[in-house]
Symmetry: C2
Subunit: 348 residues, 2 copies
């Protein structure tokens, strides 16, 4: 299995074309679980890594040979667009990102700027470097946070369990929510298009926190803006992966919002998820990231179970149901790739 | 609508008997959103409040007249049984409960004691006081955490986003997980039975964190123990409410584990949840607690929508999809009760 073949595999699966085997990559495949990443991270802040194209490119490349995955995903942070719009972005040790001051009032939304020329272009530049290095041997995936997920961070100021401020804005000040989304969507759209223009062969939209919503709220407050973003990116001509977690009751609506591939978390059987979103889109997923902390024979059983559940239908990209966790044993990530590469559905 | 009628309403709905209107109560209806609670809390630690029957009883009674709900729920903490088994339980300011040392190895499980006589009996005693005060005018609900949720706290030591330690124990040391569950289930069973004997007219089992699991893990590692607990409590002869959050893909399995009433969170339409668990159980839920931060007309619309979606079928108890949040405006909680009390399904 050479890497040129790998390139082909991922993009063909996104388009639901037949492939000799299922392609595989991992959300957060470049990250803290890897020694090479931790060494670079020890010398640079997270923002330095993100904002220095050569460093972001180096991190993007780190896991590729080591894991044998079928795609690279550019190293960046979901909240860079919020910073580019004028918010202060910091990473508190062990606490995750903090955006300040949080967006709560009309005045806060009004102050959010358009992105200045040059801001965010370091991501496109990193993609250019990665593409040059890979020279067509593997596709590069660009990404951004979905409008809801980025907005919820801007409003909460940090991670949240209950999303009270976010939902309160939706419910109490729908016009303010709309104003925020209408500032955000064009920024995210231009950002993803710039990544595609720089050479990204596909893009993924992460709606990581959308699972706090019920279907009605999703339809009213989220779907129109996710759809607007996806439509704005479609002309770039690259496959769009639309991903969320905790979306068992939202999958049909995410499908309605758009995307060529729907990313699914581990809480739902992948076969059922695909049936529900419809076979006219591809699906990506959906091993629980914590299974990578389990014994090898269990990892094998779970990976093969997922592959078997959707075997025979083109359009599955293997991935976890969310990002690789920091303490994950690297050799177990490698093992997953091997299992996916070797898998052949039983002939009946 | 007098309170004796209220008593009848809740228990009859648990048994799916016809009722003149839908009964309503709230998870965490006694708590920080109430001025009366905050005043008591300012003078006592949370553990003092839980472990002093007169104080726990007083807090239990606080919201009843103020809200006009149809049931009382005893004031207690999910983790008291873990403390009774020998773990150190502390409440870090703004951080939630901390159990130490966390249970990670066979030795840790072995050290967990049976509950000493007298430990936990303060909860039954508080129920006795509440029953005496209410004198049959309202039913009292007892509760405990489900085996998974209590065990996950014991293993993680605190709240968790990814439940890595918990799942790692399940996957790597299933015999250790089993040993922990086998110590826990009899403790929880005796605890709930003692609450029923003290006068609780119903009991609720909170599987608050079970939504991190996929259906397969639930079936293997959780269902047998939840079922064992429910079977152990059934002879007490009171309705059992089986509740969890993030359970959109687990509802059928929760039903299989047991319970007379299945508690449902807001992420799924209640009518669909009921169809899936089957009409031979009652359902409880399922307004998003954050809707109580919204404008009054929206609260009304959402409450009535839930009521309308299951109207005409006996066996619905109105509640939120999770506990009342600390900053919730009391008057909005009162408004929900009013809306439920006044609701009459449109005649066609």
């Amino acid at each position: 299995m050479n890497s040129a073949d790998g390139c082909d595999l991922f993009l063909r699966a996104c388009r639901r074309e037949p492939v000799p085997r299922t392609p595989v990559w991992f959300m957060r495949q470049a990250g803290r679980y890897m020694q090479e990443y931790r060494e670079l991270r020890a010398r640079h802040s997270l923002l330095e890594l993100c904002r220095t194209p050569e460093l972001a490119a180096a991190i993007t490349l780190q896991p590729l040979k080591k894991l044998g995955v079928d795609a690279a995903i550019i190293f960046a942070d979901l909240l860079l667009p919020a910073q580019a719009m004028g918010m202060k972005l910091e990473f508190a040790e062990g606490e995750g990102p903090v955006l300040s001051p949080p967006i709560r009032a009309a005045e806060d939304v009004r102050k959010l700027g358009a992105v200045q020329d040059g801001e965010l272009s370091y991501v496109a530049e990193a993609i250019r470097i990665v593409c040059r290095e890979l020279n067509g041997s593997l596709p590069v995936i660009g990404f951004c946070g979905a409008p809801f997920t980025v907005a919820s961070y801007m409003i909460e100021g940090s991670g949240s369990r209950n999303f009270v401020h976010t939902k309160r804005m939706m419910y109490q000040s729908p016009e303010l929510w709309q104003a925020l989304m209408q500032k955000l969507v064009p920024v995210l759209g231009a950002y993803l298009r710039s990544q595609a223009e720089a050479g990204a062969g596909a893009v993924q939209i992460f709606d990581s926190w959308v699972g706090c919503l019920n279907p009605e709220d999703y339809r009213t407050y989220v779907l129109p803006y996710s759809r607007e973003l996806i439509r704005a990116v479609a002309p770039a001509g690259v496959p769009i992966i639309h991903f969320g977690t905790g979306t068992a009751t939202l999958l049909e609506l995410m499908r309605e919002a758009g995307g060529d591939v729907i990313g699914v978390d581990w809480r739902i059987a992948l076969g059922e998820a695909w049936r529900r979103v419809g076979y006219d889109v591809a699906v990506q997923g959906n091993l629980d990231p914590v299974v990578l902390f389990g014994p090898r024979e269990m990892i094998r059983a779970r990976v093969e179970q997922i592959l078997r559940s959707v075997a025979g239908r083109p359009g599955h990209i293997f991935n976890l149901g969310h990002g690789i966790l920091p303490e994950t044993p690297v050799e177990n990530v490698q093992a997953v790739v091997e299992i996916v590469r070797q898998f052949r559905p039983e002939t009946p």
